[in-house]
Amino acid sequence: MSVETTTEAAPVPKKGMNILFGLTLLGLLLFLWLLLGLSTNSFWTSNNISNLLRQGAMTAILAVGQTFVIITAGIDLSVGAVVGFSSVTIAWLLAHGVPLWPAIGITLLVGVFIGAFHAFGIVRMGLPAFIITLATLTSLRGIGLLITNGSTISITDESFANFSRADFLGVPSLFWMVIVVAIPAFVFLHLSRWGRYLFAVGSNREAARLSGVNVERTIYLAYILSSTCAAFVGILLASRIGIGNATQAEGWELQAIASSVIGGTSLFGAVGSVHGPLLGAFILATINNGANLLNLNSFWQRIITGALIIIIVYFDQLRRCGSR
């Protein structure tokens, strides 16, 4: 099973490279902003910046969770489905009279459970991550649809529905949620030893095991974090759209993965950061926002998004190879 990539792939960045790369991405983001500021006069309005922050927020959180999994050389295709399912879960709980906070707690727990199930499948049943998460993707949408009987559950709790529209210190609450997730995620991934174990498992599972790292627990951790982030996003989405609907967030898994990779995560594992995916998510959000402001045909928008993904990842690759 050892996939050799000695020469072609597995680019191992130099020390400090990560931060540098993060900065370059930030540069790209700022450049895009500058460009949009010059070509539209609505971009740099506080209203639009708020919109942008709101629009990137959910993908950003998903991308951070996804990154943990990708660093272990895994993948989580289920996150979109988990978002949809969680929106149904919380809407259902609220509709059945469960108070708000317990409902949030239960929904997050469902996320934990789903993640644990993925890890169980991978660790105990020996299934490829791609397959088990693809299977839950399919099944979770089915279960969610079954609960809602194919339609939607309205959320009547006003305070909950208002949350996603609220601001705090002039910054949208949704963006605060990104910060609330990103800071502990950063500490966890870059400063704690569990974060290091994620990298070790992604780099060489056997070596990690021989070093006494509990590989199974690390994998559980990664998938649980990813699913819990997704459940959290499901709660935010429910608040934003005011309904629970199992078919929401279709394709978000690919957006999350794309954000993560644009942010410098390697799908071969063992390379990644927390700030990268965040920047990746906001770059994608900026492309969409800008396309809307420029009144770009939505078909062109797709074409350009695809092309930009190639270009960004290509330059990332170039920079990494060049710096070696």
Binding site: T40, S42, T45, N47, N48, N51, R54, Q55, M58, L145, T148, G150, S151, T152, S154, I155, A161, N162, R165, L237, R240, I241, G242, I243, N245, A246, T247, Q248, A249, E250, N288, N289, N292, L293, N295, N297, S298, F299, R302
Partner: protein
């Protein structure tokens, strides 16, 4: 052209919404209004439409024309947006009282019309309006499709007790899935006499299954919306009827009304643009013909 009125549809990748956009475009040209054409890429992408609405508001246009993709979900965002710009609703409603005007086709009513059309077609073929029927829905979770289904089932239950719904299937947005489901339904239910395919894509798929099996005489199909393909099926007798709305007018009048609102003129609060049943018999009708062949360019 300094007046800008964006139009936000549910799904830019569907033919129906392209006709709405074509109408809006024509209105823009006629009235000298700049009309950005916006919309999500799938009817189920509620969050996407909310974001697009937010972005549109940020551009401070004269007014916004929107077709809310989900009744409840778009309520608050429309309220919010209406604080800054007048909002004109088309096609479907939202849980908001902030609309300046509203041009709809009632999807529930469309479902009822489909039920009537199906019953009539079955009666014509078998002499009685009874037998086994099925309904196939494009995707779960899309508001307008649920409303069509609701109207259809309701009408069947109350007016045509002889018609029995033996299958109520959801596809995944793919014509070929509709086709597969239909062929399997034919196999599993040899006594099937009618099907309601509640949108364009399903009508294409189901129609193909009927054509493949040459069952146009035996199984009557009512579709929803029209394009060249389904009109062709109608001519060949593969489909018994199509429920056709007036998307072109909706787009055109939407922009026209929005412009009026932005000029603080008085407009009607609600307009029903109607839905019509098209069959082989009335296809040639000039009015219907205009509906079937909208001038998109």
């Amino acid at each position: 052209q300094d007046v800008t009125i964006p139009i936000i549809v549910k799904d830019t990748t569907s033919f129906y919404w392209q006709i709405v956009l074509a109408g809006a475009r024509a209105a823009g040209k006629d009235l000298g209004v700049n009309v950005p054409e916006l919309g999500a890429q799938a009817e189920t992408d509620v969050n996407g439409q909310i974001s697009i609405l937010e972005n549109a508001v940020a551009g401070s246009p004269a007014a916004i024309v929107i077709s809310p993709t989900e009744f409840k979900a778009l309520g608050k965002p429309v309220d919010e947006a209406a604080k800054a710009v007048p909002i004109i609703g088309i096609d479907s409603g939202a849980d908001s009282k902030a609309f300046s005007s509203f041009l709809t086709t009632d999807n529930v009513q469309g479902g009822r019309i489909a039920a009537d059309g199906l019953a009539a077609a079955i009666k014509e073929a078998t002499g009685k309006d009874e037998g086994e029927i099925a309904i196939i829905t494009n995707t779960p979770g899309a508001g307008s499709l649920e409303q069509r289904k609701e109207g259809f089932l309701d009408q069947i239950k109350s007016k045509y007790p002889g018609l029995k719904v033996v299958a109520d299937k959801y596809a995944d947005g793919q014509a070929s899935t509709g086709l597969n489901i239909m062929t399997d339904l034919i196999t599993a239910n040899p006594n099937l006499v009618g099907v309601f395919a509640s949108n364009l894509i399903m009508a294409q798929g189901v129609g193909q299954a009927i054509a493949e099996n040459k069952l146009g005489e035996k199984v009557k199909v009512i579709g929803f919306d029209s394009d060249e393909k389904t009109v062709g099926f109608l001519k060949e007798g593969v489909l018994a009827g199509l429920v056709v709305q007036d998307p072109y007018r909706m787009g055109y009048d939407g922009i026209k009304t929005a412009l009026a609102v932005s000029k603080k003129e008085k407009v009607e609060a609600t307009v029903d643009t109607g839905a019509n049943l098209v069959t082989k018999a009335n296809m040639a009708d000039p009015k219907i013909d205009a509906l079937l062949n909208p001038k998109i360019n």
